[in-house]
Amino acid sequence: MMNTVLSRLLPRQIAARFLTGGVFLASILMGGGAFAEQRNGNVYGLPPCVTTTGLQIDSIIKIIFWLTAVVFVVTQGTYIYYLIVYRRRPGVPAHYSHGNNTLEIIWTTAPTVIFLALAIYSNRVWEEIHRPAPDNALTIDVSSYQFGWQMRYPGISGKLAPMDVRKITPENPFGTDPSNPLTSQDVISTDLVIPVGRPVHVLLHSRDVIHSFYVPEFRIYQDCVPGRTIGWVWFQATQTGDFQLACNQLCGTGHYNMKAPIHIMSEKDFQSWITPRQQKNAGTTPSAPTASVAAPSPVKATDLTAPIAGTTL
């Protein structure tokens, strides 16, 4: 049936088996590889998750993982089966068919339903993650620049000095108002120090180009856009530990190394970290860190998140 050239090009049977075997191999890799479990020293899973919202993300990853795994195994299994049983055999001609409309309708509607369900579910979680930060949240101004981070904590009064992104200059890196008494009270830090179990609301700023706030263990990525305040990111840590804040948006030569330490500590440790600093800035004598210092009054998140022009873009 086929001419000589074609038959000369035909590989040995083995090749066909290898081909299908190869596809199988990929499927096994996929199964073992993308397994969405926490990483415990092995390299095949997600890093530990230390925020409440991260757990929600992990569960949706798991759902999609199993969905796609099933789709993958079923489609590729069928495909490989066809590749084997319908390989050319002498005397067995191909079946003449241009298609089947019923099948087309089925395999159009089924994925549509699945995908829409997935979109709706995803967006519900998305909304949940981004609901306004609770009132008792600790608000921290996170300011990024080429190539580093600075954090600004509320001072002794428990309030962050207001800032204006359009006032950010090299001399006034946070864009705060120098005449405001709150400004000198703010506590500046190069490390992101946060208490466990309390919501933390970060206000993301950039002084030059776009950077991003990325912590894999928090399951959070958010760009810091110059000229804007990104005010919708908050999280609540579930365990103490030391992590790293990474800039994950290409921002220039030093991008690869633009990181900052993160310390999640108990509320008590956190107080003994921040209180002396607050007192120092307030001009009061720094007292030895003790646990008896009262927690700062909660910050009203909404004070600082009024959108500036253009956040709808």
Partner: protein, 595 residues
């Protein structure tokens, strides 16, 4: 302007009746003919050789990057010293800014100077006129202009390596204001040239697309209705429409970067009330259709190859066409899925997530129809078929990882990680490149009149298949493990140190993939001259290009063919042969199934 303007008074110098004739030894010299010719088949080859050069160049950059990622700070063996100083230090190890340059140029070159010219420049040019039964393109001179604009853009792009400051290191997405403010990127000249190159490259794409669309609409042979066109023609036709609509937006956006860099405008700079996100919207409005520009032709080519070697009509031909049309339409309303976490309005993110999920549906339709095509076929395993078969599997892997990212909360975690890198190499290499390899082998006999070397072909296939998966599969794990894109040294992060073995595996795979490319290049270069002569229709195909024999004369068809039925009539019961060419009427006793 367009060549149509020059039609008046200046008859175009081509597409005559196909008879050979001497040109009396005067006129342009041979080299001039090579540089300026208007035959679509020659232009296809010009694109082929240029893109192959860029494949080696851009691929070699990827290998350098992989070396740095596996062994950060170690000098690149042997060739490290040969690399330019903006990229490596005195020891021959890649420096961070050099790494950024490599990422940028690798992405840009492989997208704009390899995948696009191969899919559109080579196969669009070669196949459209032959498959629709036309003598050439509608505007042959414009066609050649398109090639030279492409070549010019390549030269501009490469020249950025040698200007003060060197080539840009802002990623192929060139996010502003990094790209648009000299003080931030330190490479204003390189960045301007990058933008200029994309502008010229865009002109090339647009001139090409004008030609393709016009040709398909006006120059089909008698009987070649739209729904009798082979799927590659449909695919490239739709791609050309996407080009017309998407490319100018990139051109405009890139021009604004040039202005910001050089004339002090503040489009993307917040101090003048510019908007950094404006660039991202414009870029991705182009960028997302762009990725479908890179996959639609691949899908079309694959569909045809699967059908030929299964000896079966394409399953659901019309569904295939409608799926491609809907991909084209929907492709323009999903760009925001690249910006879920860019600071864009959160509700907008949610809306884009819905449209992104919807656009996966036509891809699903296509996947199922490919499976339907091989179902109950008589599958012949040849090199092009092996690539086409693997295309489907690789595309499915890449598509399924796309579903993860399409879900907004998941993207909150995986955005800009190696999970994304894995995704797009599965669709771009496992998809577009596999289809390109399949198509190069499949149409090689028609392009050169010779057969390729089969052994080298199989070596190329197996090495590519194995090493491709070895290179890119572990990147899913790297990404889920938290490894960021575009970082020159993953070991600066504690949580990534333990992932380093995976990086080494990827790099080993990449080296193998680089080696795999050698038999490919050797094969096509060598076989073009020395392969055994090919018969006119070595694969027993039905479409019109196989009805002309080598050498295909200028003007292609001595007599314009007439088309009697759809493109894929294989294994029609009641016929002696298992294929019925488009220009042959079915005998009276045979009924063709409607498609």
């Amino acid at each position: 302007m367009s060549a149509s303007l020059t039609q008046e008074g200046i008859p175009s110098v081509d597409a005559h009746d196909g008879s050979h004739h001497d040109d009396h030894g005067h006129g342009k010299s041979g080299i001039m003919h090579y540089l300026w010719n208007t035959d679509h088949k020659m232009i296809a080859l010009q694109f082929l050789w240029s893109a192959t050069f860029f494949l080696l160049f851009g691929g070699a950059m990827a290998l350098a990057m992989r070396w740095q990622l596996a062994f950060p700070g170690h000098p690149i063996p042997v060739i490290g010293h040969l690399l330019p100083h903006g990229v490596v230090n005195d020891e021959g190890a890649i420096i961070p800014s050099g790494y950024n340059v490599l990422v940028t140029m690798h992405g840009t070159i492989l997208v704009f100077f390899v995948a696009m010219p191969l899919l559109i420049g080579v196969f669009g040019n070669f196949l459209i006129p032959l498959k629709i039964g036309a003598g050439d393109m509608a505007f042959p001179a414009l066609n050649e202009l398109s090639y030279w604009l492409f070549a010019l853009s390549g030269i501009i792009m490469l020249s950025s390596f040698w200007v003060p400051g060197g080539a840009p290191g802002t990623g192929w997405t060139a996010y502003a204001p990094l790209s648009s403010v000299a003080a931030y990127n330190q490479t204003p000249m390189g960045q301007s040239l990058w933008c200029a190159a994309l502008f010229v490259n865009g002109l090339s794409s647009i001139t090409g697309a004008v030609n393709y669309i016009t040709t398909v609409i006006t120059m089909r042979a008698p009987g070649m209705t739209m729904f009798r066109m082979p799927l590659p023609v449909w695919a490239i036709f739709l791609t050309a429409i996407l080009l017309i609509l998407a490319i100018p937006v990139l051109s405009a956006a890139a021009a604004l970067i040039i202005f910001d860099l050089n004339f002090g405008t503040t489009f993307y700079r917040p101090t003048g009330y510019g908007q950094p996100l404006l660039w991202q919207h414009l870029f991705w409005f182009f960028g997302h259709p762009e990725v479908y520009i890179l996959i639609l032709p691949a899908m079309g080519l694959t569909s045809e190859i699967l059908s030929v070697f299964s000896r079966k009509p394409v399953f659901g031909y019309k569904a295939m066409v409608w799926a491609m049309i809907s991909i084209g339409f929907l492709g323009f309303i999903v760009w925001g899925h690249h910006m879920y976490v860019s600071g864009m309005n959160l509700t907008l993110s949610a809306a884009f997530s819905v449209s992104t999920m919807v656009i996966a549906v036509p891809s699903a339709i296509k996947t199922f129809n490919w499976m339907g095509t091989i179902w109950r076929g008589s599958i012949h395993y040849t090199v092009p078929m092996a690539f086409a078969v693997s295309f489907v599997s690789m595309f499915v892997i890449g598509g399924l990882s796309g579903i993860f990212m399409a879900s907004t909360p998941v993207d909150l975690f995986v955005h800009h990680t190696y999970f994304i890198v894995a995704h797009f190499h599965y669709v771009l290499f496992g998809g577009s490149m596999f289809a390109i390899f399949a198509a190069v082998y499949f149409w090689f006999p028609k392009m050169s009149g010779r057969m390729f070397n089969n052994t080298l072909g199989w070596i190329h296939f197996w090495m590519t298949f194995v090493f491709f998966n070895l290179t890119f599969f572990p990147m899913h794990n790297l990404g889920l493990g938290g490894m960021m894109r575009r970082i020159a040294d993953p070991t600066v992060y504690d949580c990534l140190k333990q992932l380093q073995p995976l990086n080494v595996i990827c790099t080993i795979g990449a080296m193998g993939l680089g080696l795999a490319t050698i038999p490919f290049v050797v094969n096509i270069v060598w076989s073009m001259r020395n392969g055994p002569k090919a018969p006119a229709n070595p694969w027993n195909s039905t479409t019109l290009e196989w009805t002309v024999s080598h050498p295909i004369p200028h003007g292609n068809f001595a007599v314009t063919p007439t088309v009697y039925h759809g493109p894929y009539e294989y294994s029609v019961p009641g016929l002696v042969r298992d294929f019925l060419p488009q220009n042959e009427k079915a005998p009276a006793h045979v009924t063709l199934e409607a498609h």
